[in-house]
Amino acid sequence: FIFDFFNARLHFGCSRMQMYPLEMEGNSNPKTTNKPKYSKFTQQELPACKPLLTPEIVIAAFALIGALFVPIGLASLHASRQVVELVHRYDASCVPVDDKVGFIQNSRTDKTCTVTMTVPKYMKSPIHVYYLIDGFYQNHRRYVRSRSDKQLRYKSAAHLTSDCVPEGDTADHAPIVPCGLVAWSLFNDTYTVRVNGVVTQVNKKDIAWKSDKNNKFGKNIYPSNFQKGRLIGGATLNESIPLSEQEDLIVWMRTAALPTFRKLYGRIEKDINANDNVTVVIQNNYNTYSFGGSKALVLSTASWIGGKNNFIGIAYLTIGGLCLSLAMGFLVLYMVKRRNFGDPSNLSWNR
């Protein structure tokens, strides 16, 4: 059919464009007839299904959606309720002075800060440790584009830093690896966790996507000239470790979609019981003060729906309820205002 269709196009094209020679062709052979060949396709009579929104279908559709959504909503709400999440904002409390920017910029100040939380419910391992930043536009156009993905993967592409300006090359024109604002602004607060006074290991292995480690960040690419400029954006990198092993960097370079975001710091692979005290010693290095952002530490367990997320459950319950009531509403409406299906007397010229 498709082939046929295109033929017709061409035929049509010439009959329009070129009357004169075409007529000659057309008339030179009187045996051929112009009668169109019959096919269901050309006569637009292909077998077809013609669904109509009959009252039964409308009510059934709404009822079905309601019946489907309410249980999903209940299940996800339940899952979300199972998740234990501790959030502790520390940006203000960890800086004792008024000149917060000055404090954080000064490399000599002691930025150690201790926060203590009490776990309200039993937390089953793995417990995810996140840092949560607010007001940091990782999706800012200036920021997202300031990276060189080729440089991260191919050794020969180290010089491809044109997108990374002003963190592309050093003053003496040596390429920075990894270049660009994204890498340069790498988060550098560190957390040491104690549960009931006992130092608990935060496992920082496998916090990044496997795909990134294996295919996106090169195993033979080592950081160079990194964080050597006049303005320090964040963490420095160990130049003896290849990028594919720099998991904090890899996580950071998966730029967040929204200006308030959390990123995985590590995992505590030990259960924590209810009423346990969790003390976290924070090296508060990262400057969120200059742009009025905030920082928080998050400890959270996980469920099949992800982290703590009541929204999806509530949304599903609302939609389900709405659809059920729509089904009821339509039922009533259809009962109240009946109309004969396909009644010719309803046609406008028959009324």
């Binding site: 196009r9 010439c14 292909l46 929104l53 999903i72 996800s76 979609a257 200059s290 109309r339």
Partner: protein, 1121 residues
């Protein structure tokens, strides 16, 4: 004059030949001497080029032509903006791709068409023609057509076509006659006679060298030619006219050879000059669409301004933060202290606002859907395909399919409110049949099929004629009675006073010779055939004489003079030298013109009786002609001959001089009688008109016939019914015309006030003639006429000139928004066809001019019903839905982008991958709209034909209007909110990365808009299923492919995110929540406020299920339908 009105296009193309030939602007052609002819002025060579492009010029010219479309300029500007480093939103490639794609598709199409044209040009240019070699021997040498030049002497054989326009010098016929068929030129299949002048005919070719032809400059008029020929050594100029020239594109028939000198070659030939395309029209829907496009541009500007302003506010409030904020990094520390501008890519808030505005335009550009234009072209192509292939629009009698000659107004066919129809050849077959005669005041109309009579000479006209036995007897008895003599003279007049060429063809019976009468006028053919049936058989015609078999005796009549028919005089005359040495003048013409030149004192009773007969003939719908005769004295004849010769060689004002010569001799005629010829209705015309009327389409008939004939045809084709009140405006003066118009208005008002409800309305019919129209148009009373006309159900205009037809169409077009359609078959309908919104040509008897000027062409008037009611309805529904859907689809996507921008510091980043945003309207969502717009049918052909009133949906613009546009835009905003905010709320404060969220948004938008389309599809065929679900699958595959490229930031995101339950939960929620309002609104609309189409769909559905239960019934109904 009526020429003041209507389009001047037609006039200007014809005006060249009206101008008389002066020496200054004449073209001088030296016969047989191309060198000298082309010496001073290089005339066009004979190579033709219908192709538009050469390989070198293709790219610039084609691009230039494509960029005439304003939308493309818009997209080009945006693509250029995107190349500026400060504004680069998309990568270089991605930004140019959609425009390049659209341009490339069109360019490939154009290139292919042009290649075909090149190919046929080459074939045409390399044909061989026999050209007289100027060298020794004077032999004809085969030469390629492209090398033929003006001045060459060319010989053309039988069934060959002359390579260029040429003046005949000699033919194989001793009298210099050549027959040509102009089928390719104007579509007329009958033979026309062309003559070589006696002077050149007798001169051997070698001696013609030195002769000079002076002819007018090349022009488009294929029926006009003015020139004269001067032989060497003779001072006399021999006049040449249209009958002395054979045109490129004709075929030489029944003549073994003809020799001529080329006067116009190549692109200057009349055929090529006439090859210009029809003026482009724009569909109503497209005009409306531009209104909405403007509306969308407004929204676009609002969005961009909002983003730009907010970005300014944001920059201002964060001004102090930006220097140190890691995500902004305002300063370039390599430059600090070294250069003035130490900032990196930051030029102050004001500049940043401007940049952000421009970037917003780039990001939101597809608010104006670029793919819509290409989709519309594809859809129209598809619709044209189905119209051309429709077996119900195929006319077997002329073996012609439906033709779509204009591509851009398919959907207008669904909105027609007013049909202007020509009568002759359109409503009627234009196959004339001699029905009755009034001879000498006696009416003979009792005709019966002729029975073969023994002993007759076997001349049989090809078309059998029914004869009246009484007349037969009368004629056979010959000069016995005065009645008989008059009857004989009457038929002699019919046999002589014409320009018919008899062709003798071998019939099945060797004893009987069948004569085929070829001529330009079907009336004449009918009359000559009738004369033959009564024993006056025209057997032979040459330029100087005719041979008539009078009751078995061959007699030779000299044709001493001929004044051809013209529309001013409305009559023609011949001067015949009879065998008995008398000279007779026969005149035949329309009654209005004939009664003016008839001497009523000669036979007053006959005149009176004939007038009565004429009235009764025309009241039964017959076409009448009045025949008169006068015997000329020798002196009168010589006087005429001198005047004629003088007039016909005149260089200035020849046409007018000839007319006055004719008027001078055509006077004091004796009335012989009148003929009634039936113009048969075409098949199915009454039914078609009834259907159109039921569909709410007003049918106006515009005809050149007189009032009585027009009314009678009106009755026979059910245009007029007995219960109608007729308003007749038929005035001879300005005053009376004004009065009757005022009367008509008061009558209309009275009737209107009497019947307020539509049920008891009295149907009105307006019958108006051309003269009154002239008065009305002259005195600026158009408005009043319009008022009356619009109140009437039927309007019949009789005796209207071609340009008045256009004037009437224009009247309605200017004063209402009603869609007009003009349908006609003849050259006189061309102006009307071009004036109307939709012009339809009937490819019938009267030639191809109407078809050439038309937008659509078909074989029969009755095809108008399926064309409008079925195809027009479908086209309109499909196209309007597609346009609305395209607006909606792109707007939804743009709004999703917009919401995201609000969360990026107003900096125009997109979470959706740039390739996805480029591919969105071109690949992800385009195929379904095109296919659905080509294939979807809201109602079946059967239903649409059964209930013509359903056509009203298009007339009332039910499928495309501002209300629907606003509805669908609100839906679009809602869906974009759902697509954006449900995932936003779910992923707030989470670790989601932008690529994953972008993929979710891409997929949800694409699935949502496709499901929206799916919900509106009415007829699901396997193709629809394949394309809609296929498109979703294709999008998914594309997203996966894009996310498998390691050097893109979003690498592997889709795999990661598809592994989470939340992704699927959100996708489902977005689709359901997004569709609920549309679904609920659709359910409510369809059940509680059903329109006619909805009810008809339900009826169809119950019919289908009934059919399925009773298969036999289904078979019988489908064969009936």
């Amino acid at each position: 004059m009526a020429e003041d009105h209507g389009s001047s296009r037609h006039m200007s193309s014809m005006s060249m030949s009206h101008k008389e030939l002066g020496d200054d602007d004449a073209r001088v052609v030296h016969v047989g001497d191309a060198e000298r002819t082309n010496e001073r002025l290089q005339f066009a060579g004979n190579a033709v080029r219908t192709a538009k492009y050469s390989p070198l010029t293709f790219l610039p010219r084609n691009l230039f032509e494509q960029f005439h479309r304003l939308a493309y300029v818009y997209f080009l500007v945006i693509a250029v903006l995107n190349q500026l480093p400060q504004l680069a939103v998309f990568g270089r490639g991605a930004s140019v791709m959609p425009l390049a794609f659209v341009l490339a598709v069109t360019a490939v199409k154009d290139a292919y068409e042009d290649w075909r044209r090149h190919r046929s040009d080459r074939a045409e240019n390399n044909r061989l023609a026999a050209v007289l070699s100027p060298g020794a021997g004077a032999q004809f040498v085969p030469t390629e057509w492209k090398h033929v030049r003006v001045g060459d002497v060319v010989r053309v054989g039988a069934n060959e076509s002359p390579p260029a326009d040429m003046v005949l010098l000699a033919t194989s016929d001793t009298t210099g006659v050549a027959y040509v068929q102009t089928l390719n030129l104007d579509g007329e299949s009958n033979l026309k006679t062309r003559y070589a002048k006696q002077e050149t005919l007798t001169t051997p070719l070698e001696h013609l060298a030195g002769a000079v032809v002076r002819c007018e400059r090349p022009n488009r008029n294929i029926y006009g030619f003015q020139a004269n020929l001067e032989l060497q050594g003779e001072g006399r100029r021999i006049p040449l006219g249209p009958s002395n020239i054979v045109l490129r594109g004709c075929d030489l028939k029944n003549t073994s050879w003809a020799v001529g000198v080329v006067v116009y070659a190549g692109r200057e030939t009349k055929a090529m000059l006439n090859n210009a395309g029809t003026p482009t029209k724009r569909s109503r829907l497209e005009t409306h669409m531009n209104r909405e496009t403007l509306f969308l541009s407004g929204i676009l500007i609002v969005l961009c301004s909002a983003v730009a302003t907010l970005s300014g506010v944001w920059l201002r409030t964060h001004q102090t933060d930006l220097e140190l904020a890691q995500f902004f990094h305002k300063k370039d520390y390599l430059k600090v202290g070294k250069e003035d501008n130490e900032n990196y890519n930051y030029y102050g808030i004001a500049a940043q606002i401007v940049f952000n505005f421009l970037m917003a335009v780039i990001v939101f550009q597809i608010m104006i859907p670029i793919s819509l234009y290409i989709s519309m072209e594809l859809v129209r192509l598809g619709q044209a395909y189905f119209m051309i292939r429709d077996a119900k629009l195929y006319d077997a009698s002329s073996d012609s399919r439906f033709q779509c000659r204009a591509l851009n107004i398919n959907e207008d066919l669904g909105q027609v409110k007013c049909v202007f129809s020509d009568k002759t050849g359109t409503l009627t077959q234009n196959k004339m049949e001699f029905r009755c005669a009034s001879i000498d005041g006696v009416d003979y109309s009792d005709v019966a099929p002729q029975r073969p009579v023994e002993g007759e000479p076997a001349w049989v006209p090809k078309v059998p004629v029914k004869v009246d036995r009484e007349v037969m007897e009368l004629v056979r008895n010959g000069g016995a009675t005065e009645q008989g003599m008059n009857a004989g003279e009457f038929f002699l007049a019919l046999a002589t006073c014409n320009t018919i060429v008899p062709l003798i063809i071998d019939g099945p019976d060797p004893k009987k010779k069948v004569i085929d009468y070829q001529g330009e006028s079907p009336d004449e053919q009918a009359l000559v055939s009738a004369a033959a049936a009564y024993g006056f058989v025209l057997v032979e015609r040459s330029s100087g004489h005719i041979v008539i078999d009078v009751l078995g005796q061959k007699q030779r009549f000299d044709v001493l003079g001929l004044h051809e028919f013209d529309s001013d005089r409305k009559r023609m005359s011949v001067i015949i030298g009879c065998p008995d040495k008398t000279i007779k003048l026969f005149v035949k013409g329309a009654d209005s013109s004939m009664f003016g030149i008839i001497d009523k004192t000669l036979n007053p009773d006959v005149v009176q009786a004939t007038e009565k007969h004429l009235h009764s003939y025309s009241s039964v719908g017959l076409r009448t002609l009045v025949i008169g005769v006068r015997e000329l004295s020798q002196s009168e004849f010589q006087e005429w001959q001198m005047a004629y010769e003088k007039a016909s060689t005149a260089l200035l004002g020849r046409g007018n001089l000839l007319r006055s010569v004719a008027a001078n001799i055509e006077r004091n005629m004796r009335l012989l009688g009148a003929s009634g010829v039936e113009d048969k209705l075409q098949d199915g015309v009454p039914e078609a008109i009834e259907k159109l009327r039921e569909a709410g389409i007003k049918v106006w008939v515009l005809t050149g016939d007189k009032q009585e004939t027009a009314i009678s045809i009106g009755y026979s084709c059910k245009l007029l019914t007995r219960d109608m009140t007729q308003i007749v405006i038929n005035s001879n003066s300005r005053e009376s015309c004004r009065k009757s118009l005022d009367d008509a208005i008061s009558m209309v008002n009275k009737l209107r006030s009497l019947s307020t409800d539509s049920q008891s309305r009295v149907p009105l019919a307006l019958i108006i003639d051309g003269n009154s129209l002239v008065y009305i148009f002259d005195t600026d009373r158009e408005e009043k006429l319009f008022e009356v006309a619009i109140a009437c159900d039927v309007v019949l205009c009789c005796r209207v000139a071609p340009l008045q037809k256009a004037g009437i169409v224009d009247l309605i077009k200017k004063r209402t928004s009603d869609m007009t359609l003009a349908i006609g078959d003849g050259a006189n309908d061309v102006s009307m066809i071009q004036m109307a919104d939709v012009g339809i040509g009937i490819s019938g008897q009267e030639g191809r001019q109407a078809v050439m000027a038309s937008d659509f062409a078909m074989g029969q008037f009755r095809f108008l019903v399926p064309l409008l009611l079925v195809h027009g309805h479908w086209n309109y529904q499909r196209m309007s839905y597609m346009i609305l859907y395209n607006f909606y689809r792109n707007a939804t996507f743009v709004f999703v982008l917009f919401w995201y921008v609000l969360y990026t510091g107003y900096t125009l980043s997109t979470a959706i991958n740039e390739w996805s945003s480029v591919l969105y309207s071109v690949v992800y969502t385009s195929a379904p709209t095109v296919i659905v717009a080509i294939l979807d049918k809201d109602l079946s052909r059967r239903t649409l034909l059964k209930y013509p009133q359903l056509y009203g949906a298009g007339q009332r613009e039910e499928s495309y209007n501002l209300r629907l546009f606003i509805f669908i835009m609100v839906d679009s905003v809602w869906q974009s909110v759902v697509v954006f905010f449900i995932p936003y709320l779910a992923y707030k404060n989470s670790a989601i990365d932008s690529a994953s969220l972008g993929d979710l948004w891409t997929l949800s938008v694409v699935i949502l808009v496709n499901i929206h389309l799916a919900m509106d599809v009415i007829r699901w065929t396997w193709i629809t299923h394949a394309v809609i679900w296929g498109s979703i699958v294709a999008t998914w595959i594309c997203v996966i492919i894009i996310d498998s490229i390691p050097t893109l930031p979003g690498f592997w995101a889709i795999y990661e995110v598809m592994g989470t339950a939340l992704f699927w939960a959100l996708l489902l929620a977005v689709i359901v929540v997004g569709m609920i309002p549309h679904f609920a609104a659709k359910a409510i609309r369809e059940h509680f406020m059903p329109n006619d189409i909805q009810i008809a769909r339900e009826m169809e559905k119950s019919q289908d299920s009934r059919d399925a239960n009773q298969p036999e019934v289904q078979m019988s109904t489908s064969t009936r339908a």
